[in-house]
Each structure stands twice: as structure tokens, then as C-alpha cells.
């Protein structure tokens, strides 16, 4: 059984009004347990919309979404997934530690267990000395790392991440990518990951879903076969470059308007 199954999904914003936007049209996608899938495409092609639909933060105009064998709403209420947004979305009145502990608190974990896990998470995102700071006392990139720590804290079976590393410097970004892969390898977590960086998508994913805008739809799914992920030499292997080329070509081919790949980076 797949962890996420999306069929014939469409999302139209402001339907019937002058500012109507067809954000997604007839999108079908099935993601298996333990799979790492990236969504890539020029900005405005509906990546965030698709992720929010899976997270049940939006209602689809038509189509079905099944997450962990349940309706999207039920799995949201059951906290089956952890999510990190483009904007960190932390709670300003809670310290960094308290933000990370919130999902654990909601799951009814006791204090000692919560504190142990949040310390572990802070080490992971390399912010142990900021435990008692408030989010507004941190830089944008640091806030994003706290949001990632919060998403990972409960070890949810499904992770939904929307350009989570966008505000990070290159060094931290590579560290976080490696950590994410090792967590997934250790826990069998399924990940849906939005990015606009081709190398990032290829490095992290089993499959890269290429999307195109107006209307937003899936134009190609590129399989990446880099077994033995998660080591320093991956980025130098010929398979890595082959996959990058395949994704880039898919992006180019999907751009029927001639200005393909707008907003997609090669770094």
C-alpha cells in the first residue's frame, strides 16, 4: 500500500471569479513507503499547493487524496506527518525548545522524554546553544532549522517539506541534506520534498517529479538510481550527472511557453 496516493487531483483558486487560478490540473501520483520523492518545477507551478493538499491545509477542487490509508484530514489530525514550510512558522511566544517539543506534547509524551528528544534534535540541526532563545532572536536560516527539528521531532512516518533548506548557507544545507538522508534510512520515513534546485532533488530522491505551470501538472517522473546514497562521493558520480541531465531535459521539454526552467536553479 502506498503512503501517499493522489488521483485526478485538481485545485482551482477563486473558482468562478475574475482572479481564478488553475493551480493544479488532473494530478495523479503514488508514493510508496520509505520513498523519497522531490517535486521540482518553475515557481508558480503548484508545488506548494500539491504539498498543502496532501497535508490537508487546503481542500481539493476535485480528486482524491489518501495518506497512510486514511483521508488526508484524518492523518493530519492523527499527526501522521511532520511538515516544514518555506516560512518557518514557529510560535513566537515559545522558546526554541518549546517549539520543538510541541508535537511531542500533543502526542502526550512525558517531560523527560520530550527534553531528551528536543536536545537530540537541536544537536542534529546544530543549534544546541540556542535552546532557550525565542524564534525572533534567530536568523532566518536558524529559524528554518528549528522548524525542521520540530517536523522531525516525533519521527513521523511521513515528512512533507517545502523548500526547507532555501534559507540555509551551502555548508549547512549539505549537512542537513546528509542528516535528512540518514534519518530516513534509519527510520524508513517517507518524504515528499519541494525544491527548485536540480542537484538537491537528484541527490536526495528516489524519484524526481517534474511539474509545469499554467495549469500546474506533472510532465515527467525521473527515476534516480544512486544506490548507496548519503556519502561524499555521490555528487561526483556519473549516475548523478546523468540524472541531473535527465531532470533538466524534462524541465526544458515541459516548457511549452519557451521560457522553461524559470526559477529552477542548477546549483
Amino acid at each position: 500500500m502506498s503512503t501517499v496516493s493522489v488521483s485526478n487531483l485538481s485545485k482551482i483558486f477563486n473558482e468562478g471569479k475574475a482572479n481564478q487560478v488553475g493551480a493544479l490540473v488532473d494530478v495523479s501520483l503514488s508514493i510508496e513507503k520509505g520513498e523519497f520523492v522531490s517535486l521540482i518545477g518553475p515557481s508558480g507551478c503548484g508545488k506548494s499547493t500539491l504539498l498543502r493538499l496532501i497535508a490537508n491545509l487546503l481542500e481539493p477542487t476535485s480528486g482524491d487524496i489518501v495518506v497512510a490509508g486514511k483521508s488526508a484530514k484524518q492523518s493530519r489530525l492523527d499527526q501522521d506527518y511532520g511538515m516544514a514550510f518555506q516560512q518557518a512558522g514557529l510560535f513566537d511566544w515559545r522558546t526554541v525548545t518549546k517549539n520543538i517539543e510541541l508535537p511531542l506534547e500533543l502526542k502526550g509524551w512525558d517531560k523527560t522524554k520530550r527534553e531528551a528528544r528536543s536536545r537530540e534534535m537541536l544537536d542534529l540541526v546544530k543549534l544546541p546553544e540556542f535552546a532557550d532563545h525565542f524564534p525572533w532572536q534567530l536568523s532566518g536560516g536558524m529559524q528554518q532549522r528549528v522548524a525542521i527539528a520540530r517536523a522531525l521531532a516525533a519521527h513521523p512516518p511521513l515528512l512533507l517539506m517545502d523548500e526547507p533548506f532555501g534559507a540555509l548557507d551551502e555548508m549547512t544545507r549539505e549537512h542537513m541534506q546528509a542528516e535528512l538522508l540518514s534519518i530516513c534510512a534509519a527510520t524508513g520515513t517517507t518524504v515528499v520534498f519541494v525544491t527548485h534546485s536540480i542537484p538537491e532533488a537528484v541527490y536526495l530522491s528516489n524519484r524526481v517529479v517534474v511539474m509545469s505551470p499554467r495549469p500546474g501538472r506533472i510532465t515527467k517522473i525521473v527515476d534516480v538510481n544512486l544506490d548507496g546514497h548519503c556519502n561524499e562521493t555521490t555528487r561526483e558520480r556519473p549516475e548523478f550527472f546523468a540524472a541531473i541531465t535527465a531532470v533538466r531535459e524534462a524541465l526544458r521539454a515541459s516548457g511549452s511557453h519557451g521560457h522553461t526552467g524559470v526559477g529552477v536553479e542548477d546549483r
Binding site: 493530519r76 511538515m83 510560535f91 510541541l102 508535537p103 500533543l106
Partner: protein, 263 residues
């Protein structure tokens, strides 16, 4: 120790301001524009306060008014908070309750005093009714505005954590709306205190224990200007006490923990 020092630092400009008022006041008395029966000197007012103190009236009046005011204010919070949350979060409730709240908020609650006296007599029920009518709309409306100003990113973060309904109220909605809510509480207290004084002035007889409004009424009936000014000074002092000892530290704590400027 440092708290004491910061209190002293805050009290200094206030003491200077009040000192200036007393000096100007004394100068007016010395210039003899009016007889001291109409503009009594600061010393005479101080005497009147001393008299109230030795009679035991000062403490009992302050206690009567303050505890009525605070009790009425706490009742207002208990009513206004769920009401404000319901208006802010339930669309059906909002559409018809919000206009009523806004209408009530601009209506001076003193206008209810005559009706209330006819209904309840000059009892504490009347006093509390007037306080509630003054404070509840103001607290509830500010809470609604506070909830309306919560950014979408915070709602989204709450939803993705599986929070909804009452659980989200405690963990997200109330804390996120706290700055606006606090403003509402401060405003609500000001309304409660004003309403109480008005009610005490108008309904000063009957089985109500005598409060600060009563001192003013006694002063008026005996044409005792010093006593009335002593009463005014006590009303002012009580209002300031609640503001400085209650709300200021609370506001400072809430705002500074959110990185918001503290004024």
C-alpha cells in the same frame, strides 16, 4: 533589588509631574482668585484625607470600591473571553454578535444605571450589571481583533500539528492573540472602574456598602470641597495602583518575550 530600582526609575517622572501639579495648585490658592471654600489648599485636602483615615472610612471605602471593581472585572473576563473567541472563530456567531458588541462598546454603560436601579434596586447587582456592560464589549472586541491579526503562517502551523477547535485555542489562538487581548483587558479595566464610579455616584444609597463614590456624594451634600477632592485623589490612586501594579508588569512580560517593543 533591580526591580525596586526600575520601579523607582519609573516613579520619578510621575512624582515630578504630580509635584508640579501641587505647586501650581498652591500658587492658585495663594493668588486668592477663589476663597478656600471653593478651591481648598493641598494642605486642607491632605487634612481631609487624614480625617478619612482616622475615621477608618478611607480604608473601608477603598476596599469596598476596589474589591467590587476587581470582582466585576474578573466576571467580565470570564464572560468576554469565551464570547470573544466564539465571535472570532465561529462565522455564524460573528455575523450577528459582532455588531451588537460594537454598538454596546460605544454606548456609555452609565446610561443603563436608571434602568438597572428600577430592575434591581440600589444593590450590588446594579453595580455589577453596569461594570459588565462597560467592560465585556471592550474586552471581547479586542480579543476578536487580536485573533483576526494572527498571521496565516501561524494558523497553518497549528493545522499541520493536527490542532483544531478547543485544543488550538489554548496552544495557539490565545497565546498568539495575547498582545491584543492584553490591550483589551487594560481597556476593560478602565471601563469597569469608570462604570463603577458612575454607578456608586448615582446609586449611593441603599444596602450598598459605602465606596469611594459615597465619599464624593457626602462631600457634595455637605458642600465640603476638601472632602470631594480627597475622594477624587483616592479614585485616581486606586486606578493608578491597578494599572502600575497589575497591567504594566504583565504587558512588559508578554511583549518582551515576543520581541515586541515595550513602551
Amino acid at each position: 533589588m533591580s526591580r525596586l530600582r526600575s520601579f523607582a526609575a519609573a516613579a520619578k517622572p510621575f512624582a515630578l509631574g504630580m509635584g508640579a501639579v501641587v505647586i501650581v495648585w498652591q500658587a492658585i490658592v495663594w493668588s486668592k482668585v477663589k476663597p478656600t471654600s471653593q478651591i481648598p489648599s493641598p494642605a486642607m485636602v491632605a487634612d481631609a484625607l487624614g480625617g478619612l483615615w482616622s475615621d477608618g472610612v478611607l480604608l473601608s471605602s477603598v476596599w469596598n470600591s476596589l474589591h467590587r471593581g476587581v470582582l466585576g472585572f474578573l466576571m467580565s473576563i470570564l464572560i468576554a473571553t469565551p464570547l470573544g473567541l466564539a465571535v472570532a472563530m465561529v462565522r455564524g456567531v460573528r455575523s450577528f454578535v459582532r455588531p451588537v458588541l460594537s454598538a454596546l462598546q460605544q454606548l456609555p454603560s452609565v446610561s443603563w444605571v436608571p434602568i438597572s436601579i428600577v430592575l434591581f434596586g440600589t444593590t450590588s447587582t446594579t453595580v455589577y450589571a453596569i461594570i459588565l456592560l462597560g467592560a465585556v464589549p471592550s474586552i471581547a472586541n479586542s480579543l476578536v481583533s487580536g485573533v483576526d491579526l494572527i498571521p496565516p503562517t501561524q494558523w497553518r502551523a497549528a493545522s499541520m500539528l493536527g490542532l483544531g477547535g478547543l485544543r488550538s485555542v489554548r496552544r495557539v489562538v490565545l497565546p498568539a492573540a495575547m498582545p491584543g487581548y492584553l490591550t483589551g483587558l487594560e481597556q476593560g479595566w478602565a471601563f469597569a472602574w469608570r462604570s463603577l464610579m458612575a454607578a456608586e455616584l448615582i446609586a449611593s444609597t441603599g444596602d450598598l456598602g459605602s465606596g469611594l463614590g459615597n465619599i464624593l456624594t457626602v462631600g457634595r451634600n455637605s458642600q465640603d470641597m476638601s472632602l470631594m477632592l480627597a475622594g477624587v485623589a483616592l479614585v485616581l490612586a486606586c486606578g493608578l495602583l491597578v494599572e502600575k501594579a497589575g497591567f504594566s508588569p504583565l504587558r512588559r512580560r508578554v511583549l518582551s518575550s515576543r520581541g515586541l517593543a515595550v513602551v
